[in-house]
């Protein structure tokens, strides 16, 4: 098959436990979360097809597909984000960075540390802001949908955001640590 080079491989970002225990655990958790997100996409496809078939051939549409799909987008993002961070797949324009890298690899490492820390901060802020809403969703049994038509609790969705932010922030810190080590390694 064409372009095996561009495949996404767990082995690419999960180090062996003996080599880097923290990275291995973090990578394992991120891979697990992203697997759930992956399965979710497949289920979403099946749900939409089932709704289309049910509506057209059995006069039995599935209620709430639009709302479920909408909520799923957010869940999928936060389930996948930590793996994307560890794989270094977040979109960026790195042409200047590459030029700087040719002149001074150390400077790139410093920038990478700053960027990773910014990412960690953003996710930590989001975690901080999401926590009370998540607790509230649990306490008040908040749901979306319509009583008597369909209702789905929002707690799991809010919890996914919290978990995704936590692991994502740790993943950013881990990347910052890697760059720091590279910086020190170059200095020695």
């Amino acid at each position: 098959m064409a372009d095996e080079s561009s495949t996404i491989d767990d082995r690419g970002y999960i180090p062996r436990f003996a080599d880097a225990p923290v990275g291995a655990v973090l990578g394992g958790v991120a891979a697990f979360l992203s697997s759930i997100g992956t399965i979710w996409i497949g289920l979403l496809m099946l749900l939409i097809v089932a709704d289309v078939l049910g509506r057209n051939f059995f006069n039995a549409p599935i209620t709430g597909v639009a709302e479920i799909a909408a909520r799923s987008v957010v869940a999928i993002v936060f389930l996948q984000v930590s793996a994307a961070i560890l794989q270094g797949r977040l979109t960026r324009a790195d042409f200047l960075l590459r030029r700087i890298g040719r002149a001074s690899p150390g400077a790139v490492n410093v920038l990478e540390i700053v960027f990773a820390l910014c990412g960690a901060t953003v996710l930590a802020v989001l975690l901080w802001a999401s926590w009370p809403k998540t607790v509230e969703a649990w306490v008040t049994a908040e749901f979306f949908g319509v009583q008597g038509v369909f209702t789905i609790p929002t707690f799991p969705f809010r919890a996914i955001t919290v978990v995704g932010c936590t692991v994502g922030a740790l993943a950013c810190l881990y990347r910052a640590g890697q760059s720091l080590r590279a910086l020190r390694g170059a200095a020695e």
Binding site: T38, V52, A70, V73, A93, G119
Partner: protein, 442 residues
């Protein structure tokens, strides 16, 4: 310092961070957070707005179609349906200048009738067209630029999310908008084709890795033609897929939003029927889908947060004052408007721009005697250009992400889409000056 001044400083901060190479999502979220905090002088509020945006900013059925269209593209690619289709296209268009580029534009035009979102076109065609064009001697970055550039057709040829959003905001007939989009959409497609052919003549080095070999291939006379039977059998799967999606859409079996799910499922069936998927390979494709989607969706989330910061800064009101301030002629107003949208397109996503601009501009346009449907097509054309302009060009990011080829960098794809931007600008000017291009079919 006025809130607006803070807003402009934060635009500069964003651009600098992105140019320095910071992950664009972090730059948008960070600058947005800082902006809300400073402008409203309320840290707590910045927290709450970030939470609100993260929880519901992209919670939309429409965005759920992005992973599904990505999946569809990967499945078409992994089952070699894309390769077969492009082999036939290469055979048929061998003598045409930039044949596969033209094929990509044509394919995008057909697919534009299925999807309402440009990102979907970009996601579907990257894995299908770019490797095939590369295999036939095109520069990978040029191929990627072609896919990104022609993806904008998805928003101009109906169905189109942007035309719907505009129709709702300006209170004009959505059906009318759809009809008005057809001629400019075709102009755009033809403009792209002409541009690709011209470019191949004038600057073959921009198009091919080895221009001499490409020219030789094109003029070669004694290649054994592909037998018709082989050609038809290679085309069958794509014809079935297109028939399924287009037919289902236009006979009312499903909506454009649902087309993503149905299309992905159809592509899955085709892949299974061709025995090109085992369980391992399917899982692999699914994982890729997730990895590609998250980057795109995270960018959309971050952009919508950043645009909310600009709204807090009072940018919409400032723009309203600017366009109201001035005794503009209808044409002068349209050009000022288009320039503002082009500038916003550099840093914001399409829907946010429409939300900010249309409520301000549509009443003024109407008072100047500009037809609102004509005005809508100009709006959508200008907004679409933003999909391709740096530093925030979501179609370019989608292609680069989906391709995930370390040899093709973001700025290379931006450079390769530049000719497409120029064609769009030309079409924008023509449509602005000749209203009948939009209103003739109404």
């Amino acid at each position: 310092m006025t809130t607006l001044a803070i807003g402009f400083i934060l635009i500069a901060v964003l651009v600098i961070l992105v140019l320095m190479g910071m992950q664009i999502a972090w730059a948008l979220l960070g600058a947005g957070f800082l902006g809300i905090w400073l402008i409203r002088d309320n840290l707590d509020l910045a927290f709450r707005m970030l939470e609100l945006t993260a929880y519901s900013g992209i919670a939309d059925y429409l965005f759920a179609t992005i992973p599904l269209f990505v999946l569809m593209g990967l499945l078409v690619s992994v089952s070699n349906v894309g390769r077969d289709t492009f082999e036939v296209a290469e055979e048929l268009l061998r003598r045409v200048l930039c044949g596969l580029g033209v094929a990509t534009v044509a394919a995008n035009t057909v697919f534009a009738a299925v999807t309402g979102v440009s990102i979907a076109s970009a996601a579907v065609f990257t894995r299908v067209a770019v490797p095939e064009m590369t295999r036939h001697g095109y520069r990978p970055a040029f191929a990627a630029g072609t896919v990104a550039g022609s993806s904008v057709l998805g928003m101009l040829i109906p169905p189109s999310l942007l035309l719907i959003v505009y129709g709702v905001l300006a209170e004009v007939s959505i059906g009318g908008m759809f009809i008005a989009g057809v001629i400019p959409g075709i102009m755009l497609a033809l403009g792209f084709v002409a541009m690709l052919m011209g470019l191949t003549l004038v600057a073959p080095g921009f198009v091919f890795t080895d221009p001499a070999a490409a020219r030789e291939r094109r003029t070669l006379r004694d290649i054994e033609p592909m037998p018709l039977r082989v050609m038809l059998s290679k085309l069958l799967p794509i014809v079935v897929l297109v028939f399924l999606v287009l037919g289902g859409l236009y006979s009312g079996f499903f909506t454009p939003t649902e087309a993503g799910g149905v299309g992905a499922f159809g592509a899955l069936l085709v892949a299974l029927a061709r025995r090109s998927l085992d369980r391992k390979r399917l899982w692999h494709v699914m994982k890729q889908t997730g990895a590609i989607s998250v980057s795109i969706l995270l960018l959309l989330l971050a952009a919508s947060f950043y645009s909310r910061m600009l709204s807090v800064a009072g940018l919409p009101n400032a723009i309203a004052d600017l366009v109201r301030s001035g005794g503009f002629s209808p044409v002068g107003f349209m050009f000022l408007y288009a320039v503002i949208i082009l500038l916003m397109g550099m840093i914001l996503d399409s829907t946010s721009i429409l939300l900010i601009m249309v409520p301000i501009a549509a009443p003024i346009a109407q008072s100047l005697g500009i037809d609102l449907i004509h005005f809508g097509i100009i709006t959508v054309l200008a907004v679409e250009i933003g999909l391709l302009t740096p530093p925030f060009g979501i179609s370019v990011f989608t292609v680069q992400n989906t391709l995930n080829d370390p040899d093709v960098s973001v700025e290379q794809v931006f450079a390769a889409t530049l000719p497409f931007v120029l064609v769009m600008l030309a079409v924008l000017v023509i449509v602005a000056l000749v209203p009948s291009t939009a209103t003739a079919l109404l």
